[in-house]
Symmetry: C2
Subunit: 391 residues, 2 copies
């Protein structure tokens, strides 16, 4: 028993080390970084190579020593599929272990309370198309990103206001479609998936991630892992109180951060039209005569919520994403002033405020990464299952 | 290499399982709970018994099966020493692996900025007395509890207002005394040590711990482990803002929780004499005519700080200690009302608000437990070191 456990554990340690390395890595470097012996590493690497999870490149000469054989995650062998469900379209992306896009499709439809089954069927069709584009890759699983709060068991969407969804059993609906029969399906909140894209850029780091969108969401990352909390909702900065008894929030509470800095709140505060897109919000805000005031409000409100969170978590890095990314430079001085006034950590270290270099669709990419995740966590189980299916 | 790592790991898993079991545990139960094989568990247990870390009790008959041999942490074999440094006294406690008190001494002296060396010497004398009382137990280490913020390296006290200490290198001062020469010495914040006493009562649980004292401190416990943060300051609820621009706090900031509910703030708010002891605060408050208002203020201020923390951490249990413990029942309705108004988690689960059944001196006991900690974390290293010293 014990040795099987150990082998599984070591396989995943080596797989993860190859997957997170910023450049091709040798067996010798792997042995150093994983603290395993070289013979053990070589044996595990052979196993990962023959399972199609790792690939070798041409040996590189290194002066007098033996040539170094660079290892990388295998290309095109396995397929993780991400879905992103938005109010007016569904996007689907297939990636391989190397993080390369194998295929991508989008279907436009109105997603709302009346179209749940239709949405599930559209998702299944998109998955089918992506699979057809990568016929040689073995499907690992599918993960859907939803702009809403999930039930603690991860199967139902409790509330997704932009989709007008309340208690939608999306996991069950997806599993019912013929195309997804027997396929592992996950459903997650879109912001918790977006942050996976940021973690890939900052492996092993600890930071607070705040994403400005129609609402304001966030996540807490400790040593490269997203903090879940009891219900999977940790990092909900949006409903942190920044002004007791203050502005009415769309959630019905008063004084929430979201009531001051969400897309909806900002649009109304700046007197913009209702058809302004989030992507255009910053530009539209900059046309308004009260732009300085709007920027100051965003920075100070966000600064207070962040100062409180920093005191509780004792973190020193904040990453701003969504519409907050492009204006990070402008709001940073206001955030910094408020954070320095209230956060203990700011007494000894400068709090780092950075913008996320968002990909076009971080939640979609995060969903695809999450779909690949089980291979990194337990390549041994994957190898056993594929051997069983083949035999 | 690997098998040594594994043995060390398994030794600590078994040691910890014996130490945290609520009653004597058999080898068979250990095998089930640790997922190790029975022969492996038996071998590891023998090693822990011969090292004096675990002891066997008389076999207990269990009907038709083989009699069960109960195992417990060994009594009186090793000694962990805790120190608690307060403004007018230093307490010292020696415990064994079973958590039994072996000896305890207190010395009364004025601890302030001018008496740092004298304080270190008094600590060393107390340690000497406790060791003399338990001559057969091997000293593991010493841990001192200080009512202040520690430097991130854990060696200096950055600020301990009640001791009038600023940047005091206490670790170095203690290590300099002849009695502590070569002894592993740790120094920690008193609240981070108090919470260890609470964790011992709630193994593996996640909760927020808030301690009301001259200030307001706290800690976050995730699955039985205290969250450190970047500087070791995570859980600093006291300087969470509950009223932007509000009351002036002793730290110089405005609107901190501590400015509303610390001993100092409450004493002034209730118009009490300056010589009221913290232990008497609740009783004195109850004599005041504005008692209901004071209780309401404490509950609502604390409730807002907790609601924000709950949204960020997604926890569902709060433990109140210090002077907040005895009034937990009275302030809970006000906390609950505020938390339910603002915390997302309260939508699906009731937030549990409990009082800590504080021991007389939770920081002192926590310090002694922290001194014992290295044995639970790595009994293998301890066994190797004692074998080396003996041979």
């Amino acid at each position: 028993m014990q040795s099987t456990h150990l082998r599984e554990h070591n396989l995943s340690v080596v797989m993860r080390a190859v997957a997170t390395a910023t450049e091709p890595i040798s067996r010798a470097t792997l042995a150093r970084s994983t603290q395993l012996t070289k013979p053990t590493v070589s044996k595990l690497v052979e196993e990962l190579i023959s399972a199609g999870l790792v690939e070798e490149h041409a040996p590189v000469s290194q002066g007098s020593g033996r040539p170094m054989v660079p290892l990388q995650p295998a290309k095109g062998t396995v397929l993780g599929i991400g879905l992103e469900i938005a109010a007016e379209h569904i996007s689907c992306l297939g990636i391989d272990l190397a993080g390369r896009q194998l295929s991508s499709h989008t279907e436009y439809l109105r997603v709302d309370a009346d179209t749940v089954e239709e949405t599930a069927r559209a998702c299944a069709r998109l998955v089918e198309q992506v699979r057809a584009d990568a016929p040689r890759a073995t499907l690992v699983g599918v993960c859907a990103a939803v702009p809403g709060r999930m039930s603690p068991d991860g199967q139902s969407v409790l509330a997704a206001p932009n989709l007008d969804w309340t208690e939608v059993p999306l996991g069950r609906e997806l599993a019912r479609t013929p195309q997804l029969d027997g396929v592992p399906v996950q459903v997650h909140n879109d912001i918790r998936l977006s942050v996976l894209t940021e973690i890939a850029r900052r492996p092993e780091q600890s930071f607070m991630y705040v994403r400005g969108s129609t609402g304001v969401g966030g996540a807490i990352v400790l040593d490269g892992t997203v903090l879940d909390g009891v219900h999977g909702w940790a990092g909900e900065f949006g409903h942190t109180v920044v002004e007791p008894g203050g502005a009415l929030c769309r959630c019905g509470r008063r004084g929430c951060l979201e009531a001051y800095i969400s897309y909806h709140a900002l649009r109304e505060r700046a007197g913009l039209r209702t058809d302004v897109l989030i992507d255009e919000l910053v530009e539209e805000l900059s046309r308004s005569t009260d732009r300085a005031e709007v920027i100051g409000t965003i920075g100070r409100s966000l600064g207070l919520a962040l100062a409180n969170a920093l005191n509780i978590l004792d973190l020193s890095t904040v990453v701003l994403s969504g519409y907050l990314g492009p204006i990070a430079g402008e709001i940073a001085p206001f955030i910094r002033e408020t954070v320095e006034r209230h956060a203990l950590a700011a007494e000894v270290d400068e709090v780092v405020i950075e913008r996320s270099d968002d990909l076009e669709a971080p939640a979609l990419w995060g969903a695809a990464r999450a779909a690949i995740g089980p291979i990194l966590d337990s390549p041994g189980a994957w190898i056993a299952r594929t051997a069983e299916m083949a035999g």
